[in-house]
Amino acid sequence: MNYSSFKSEDFLMDPAFVQWIKQDKYNDFWENYQKKHPHQALEIQRARLIIQAAATLPVAPLSDDSRIGMWQNVQQKVVSNTAYEAEVPTRHTPFRSWVWWAAASIVLVSGWLGWQALRPPQAVSTAYEQLMDQTTAENQKLIQHTNASNRPMLISLPDGSSALLQKDSRISYSAQEYGTSKREVLLSGEAFFEVVKDPQVPFYVFANELVTKVLGTSFTVQAYEADREVNVFVKTGKVSVYTNKEFETRAKPGKPEKEAVVLSPNQLITLHRESLRLSRIAMESSKLRVPQTQTSFEFDDTPVTQIFKLLEETYGISIVYDQQRLSACKITASLTDEPLPEKIRLLCQGLGASYTISDKSIHIYSNGCN
């Protein structure tokens, strides 16, 4: 191969060159080549830097919880369709790599889950499972997220809305229908929702015996299976709530929806699950995890690090960024009830930064401001 007329882009397309940079192959050849062709040093240096830059791009982080959760979902799907044995056969093949240990711990967890899934159904299934059955009966593909950790988990929904899922909580929605014909989520446990406004397609949360309907707002629903109450707290906008029964028999199109109880900002409503009675109670007596801040974020030439800190405290999600590099960045912005992912997008747009959002953290990549 005659490389003497090569420019950086030609070197980049040459497999032997790439292997040299990435895997230290053909060292002798290339070192010798560089000595003999000093006029190409700049081209070679550029090609090298481009490969290095591409090879060290930041990786979108996948949290342990997601990794394990996804594996559990795979196991569950596999269990429900084939005679997948729940118990993992013990083997005595000596595996030395750490990978095996990591995998082994997953198998243990999933083995247990598999066993759970194979257990005969209990006499009374939970409200959440009943709701899921109704949905799956219609041949729907559900996407489910489970938060088994102690920290809140940020779930981005397909329409840009978000749910901050608290611990021991599950949420699911239809892969096909969500965002197109309707926006419906099932919840067990607690979540804070920030819903993108769309008057044409109302957003519904089905949680235990309560249905919450909104057009675009932020609110928290708390509906743990073991609790005797379901709570809904409104932070911004207006929210209608119904009991399941009321929802099923509610007015047909054209008729007024009499049964709905309408809530305004900072109002809390409680459904007593046994009597199915709704009552408003004082906010202080509830233990709802509503992001505790003002409803709007007004920033006037505010250091962006301060804004990130405020968002971290408000949502309980960690935001990872280079403090030093961003220390000179200031932003003037008015954020209200946009979902958190949208807030981050707007801020990054202002910064000229890029970002990644995962369940547990948000990463900001920026070169800083000068």
């Binding site: 397309m13 830097l49 481009i50 990786v59 995998a103 990644t356």
Partner: protein, 199 residues
């Protein structure tokens, strides 16, 4: 983790074990590839739930159809190709896949090159890599994807072509176009050095 190497014995054995229904091998495959698959998927669409769903589907199908799978030459290549298809199919059902606006333009920078550039200090080199990475994330989606597959994930050109369902020459063109744009980042270098003197 180079795809341009023949299938290792270890990988071959693992694949055979998996195909014969060994759940341990299945777990190992998952553990080994889930991270890089997620990273790849994430850069096709930032919709994390969709990517996770596609990966779940991928592994579920992998297990279900394991007996029909061939002795693939590269497990990694096979998984990447399948994941890409799944993501595109799923995003049709979601119909809300938000694509990153395609911008072909990097800021125009005056073309000043000097021999100074050869004497690159370490700091400047790191700064330059950051600039390049920034420029990389501003490339149009398909260019980014090709560059990532080739230089980040280590696939050969023909594998990149097959994963992206293009012919090899088109991938070549795609990568060359993006390199041209990345080269503009180098023109920042003298400017940077200039700045350093005044800060």
């Amino acid at each position: 983790m180079a795809a341009d190497q023949p299938l290792h014995d270890e990988e071959y054995v693992l694949w055979q074990r998996f195909k014969s229904g060994d759940q341990e091998a299945f777990a190992l495959l998952y553990e080994q590839y889930v991270g890089i698959l997620y990273n790849y998927g994430y850069h096709i669409t930032p919709h994390t739930a969709l990517v996770q769903d596609a990966i779940q589907d991928l592994f579920t199908d992998l297990w279900r159809t394991r007996q029909n799978l061939s002795d693939t030459t590269s497990v990694k290549y096979y998984l990447f190709r399948s994941l890409r298809r799944k993501i595109h199919r799923l995003s049709e059902t979601y119909q809300t896949l938000q694509s990153i606006p395609e911008s072909d333009n990097l800021p125009d920078i005056p073309h000043i090159l000097s021999q100074e550039a050869l004497r690159i200090e370490k700091d400047t080199q790191e700064e330059l890599i950051r600039q390049l990475q920034q420029a990389l994330t501003n490339l149009p989606e398909r260019q980014q994807e090709a560059i990532r597959l080739r230089f980040f994930d280590g696939f050969e050109l023909r594998e990149v072509a097959s994963i992206m369902q293009m012919n090899e020459q088109s991938v070549r063109n795609l990568i060359q176009r993006s390199i041209k744009k990345l080269r503009q980042a180098f023109e920042l270098l003298p400017v940077l050095m200039f700045c350093h003197q005044f800060i």
